[in-house]
Symmetry: C2
Subunit: 323 residues, 2 copies
């Protein structure tokens, strides 16, 4: 008998529902759960806005917002720490994909009155653990009542970058690369992934790197966002063990999973045609254990298209559509 | 017969549902609806993060997040432009209450698949109209699918302040003031209010002004947040016409509405004991048409309490609790 653990954000134990705790006490608890991740005084929770000094900053500011919702991004099978880490991680991955460093976050929670305080504490522990790993301050937020069955948390993350790497800055002849291995995130990676911040910062320091994106909707869709209306001559994508494993029961090929699954949170980027690819890969491997794969090169402009190593068009589905 | 107009965010007309339009087309439409409020290129919508230069900034950064939800903050009777203006306005009011100036915003939308594209366009027109009035750039966002009946929009707003006015910076002897008139926002002001940005900036420039808050949960609750564990010797609060009108049918006094209704989005602040109050009021009236009322003074520390002009304790309810 296969026993699943159930981690519902809702509870029938009235004493452990947020409506019994009340808003003010809940905010005090949240501050305690966050611990040193939430700065004291005006830089943290408790005033109308979070306040932070701007002097001596240079480069560029980055800002992004992404959330997780019960029934959309997680369900009763995902442990609440994983929900919190996913919430923080998907925003950190957006900052990483610009070649930036995350700095501070605010959260907005929409919670049904029977939301479990214990589930919420564990979710915040997930947020705080990733905040510690990436030196992010959680500086404020908002809590609002939602209808039954609703548990939505938005996170707005700010960061900085010396040289932000945008999408669609590539030219014909550029190389296309991807970190890690793709596919099968449904088996667990979607809430247990490592945003590629160190890798992104390193890449932004390499003058030959031109544009970057993170793989969240499936590389089939995200490559198009990266290269715009260009054709790519391409080898196969790196396929994860999870993609192979999932293909045993899904009726789809490991390649299909690698191209389309999404939630990989790896980085895809382009490099100048003049780049010495083997020296670049050697430099990478001297710094990172993360795998790096050369996917191919930008062949021509005039429409997005992927040509496989056997010279055939690669038929791609459009990737994850959010509606 | 009284005819109410109904502005549901949901539609049974399949062609006008967001699931028929699809995510990519919807994001293109959103950019068009926002018009010049959404900057071009990396500073606006379309990449993993919004990017903005940090050089030559001084003072302090401010960040806040607040949202509106169907069933919580609006219903079928609020026109969608009003929902958008309320969404932007309540965040602008948070920036105003720090003595700051709003600069840029990101939105996060959680929408049921049958959400009406037309409702959404009008909501965005409300966001854009207030963004234009306050010179705010809408620089990005996220759109996610939610369950049936859910329509939630979060907005994270960033601003700057030369001298941020925090809560709870008052001392015994300080004066307490409030802008505008309070109560009865339910009759319309809750989605048709003017955030007090100019007033807040002016106040932050007056050395005698010490702390500030905006009135969103009812002054009974928000005064406590402003002055902390201090007792206030106080006159009556300024009562709006709407509070008088609402009392005709609510069974509650106009005073009760002014103290407890909330959603006024006025500013309450404290001034030094040494302040010349009549000169201060004269200076104010030379600049603003907005009414300013001296409420009273901080009498002693040791516990929040309000003493009325008849020397009796003012019995206050705890104000709006969000659960």
């Amino acid at each position: 008998l296969f026993m699943d653990t159930i981690y519902s954000p809702f509870t029938s134990n009235v004493d452990r529902q947020i409506k019994s705790v009340g808003e003010s006490a809940l905010i005090r608890e949240i501050r305690a759960w966050l611990g040193p991740v939430c700065p004291d005084g005006a830089e943290g929770i408790g005033d109308d806005c979070a306040v932070f000094p701007l002097a001596n900053t240079s480069g560029f500011g980055l800002t992004t917002v992404d959330g997780v919702g019960y029934g959309s991004h997680f369900d009763d099978k995902v442990p609440p720490e994983g929900v919190g880490r996913k919430l923080m991680g998907r925003n950190v991955s957006d900052i990483a994909s610009m070649g930036g460093r995350p700095v501070r976050a605010v959260l907005s929670l929409w919670l049904a009155p029977d939301t479990s305080v214990d589930w919420l504490r564990s979710m915040y522990e997930g947020v705080a653990s990733m905040a510690r790993e990436y030196s992010i301050a959680v500086v404020g937020g908002d809590v609002a009542r939602a209808n039954a069955g609703v548990c939505i948390v938005d996170l707005c993350l700010q960061g900085i970058a010396e040289r932000p790497l945008l999408r669609q800055q590539c030219k014909v002849g550029d190389g296309v690369w991807v970190t890690g291995e793709l596919g099968g995130s449904f088996l667990g990676k979607h809430y247990q992934f490592t945003p590629r911040v160190a890798e992104g910062l390193w890449l932004a320091n390499q003058p030959g790197v031109g544009s970057m994106i993170d793989i969240s909707d499936g590389i089939a869709k995200d490559l198009r966002a990266l290269v715009g209306d260009h054709e790519i001559l391409m080898s196969d994508v790196p396929i994860s063990d999870a993609a192979h494993k999932l293909s045993l029961t899904s009726g789809k090929s490991p390649e299909y999973h690698a191209w389309h699954d999404g939630e990989d949170f790896e980085l895809a980027f382009t490099t100048d045609a003049q780049m010495d690819c083997s020296a670049f890969l050697e430099n990478w491997n001297a710094v990172f254990e993360t795998k790096l794969t050369y996917l191919g090169k930008i062949n021509q402009a005039g429409g997005f298209q992927v040509i496989g190593h056997d010279s055939r068009f690669v038929e791609l589905e459009s990737g994850y559509e959010h509606f």
